[in-house]
Symmetry: C2
Subunit: 136 residues, 2 copies
């Protein structure tokens, strides 16, 4: 699968037949689906700066439920982007930090975040223009 | 909002208060949510190569419903990433092509796609390791 070598979409190919769109066998889709979640990007961004304890992340994102935070951290850990260390304090404290794989992902991902930040006005302007043309 | 200037997450700040997570006022989230969809990335990838007519896109992604294809193209057009041209053939044919804004987005986005493709084996290996440690 070469991104610019063929006219076929990147997700097409032997491993990733669009006609079946087999998630398990589509590498790009399989990776993207995990990092595209509402909380995943935010947590990756936070952990790209410094390690955080569970309670700190909870306070950082007050509107995430404890269950959703636990699940999102577990998914990110399972995919290898973050690691979890338990410290034998009383009560035990748990710290999350980004792995090398996570840093390697976050490098291109952060550029998309920057693009979004910089170009949000253009996107908003496009929406206004589109909505006006729909009304016309 | 500077990605590396503070210890606060990128989505925090005046315009994007995590405690409320106001989608309308969070530029990064507002842009990301649209491009993270299952079909959006695929269609952007296809249209980054060449313009396509509606029917061609339909055949390119046989498992997308006509309604979902129409909706996804409309969303991408509304956000300014693609444009739509109607040709006065009989019956009229409609062509979609990527805009400059779309190309500008696709540049960093394609790097995330390439990362996903290149690092899928590492992600899969991390999952196996994680699942084994859960069983232990």
């Amino acid at each position: 699968m070469a991104l610019n070598a063929s006219r076929k979409p990147v997700l097409d190919g032997k491993e990733c037949d669009m006609s079946g769109w087999d998630m398990d066998n589509c590498p790009v889709r399989d990776v993207l689906d995990r990092i595209a979640g509402k909380w995943s990007t935010l947590l990756l961004e936070a952990l790209s700066r410094q390690p955080y304890r569970f309670g700190e992340l909870r306070r950082l994102v007050p509107d995430i439920s404890q269950r959703m935070l636990t699940q999102t951290l577990r998914d990110l850990q399972r995919d290898g982007y973050i690691e979890r260390e338990v410290f034998p304090t009383k009560p035990p404290s748990v710290e999350y930090r980004m792995t090398e794989l996570g840093r390697s992902l976050f490098e291109p991902l952060s550029k998309v975040l920057r693009w979004a930040e910089a170009n949000h006005p253009s996107v908003k302007a496009a929406r206004v223009k589109y909505d006006e043309s729909e009304l016309a």
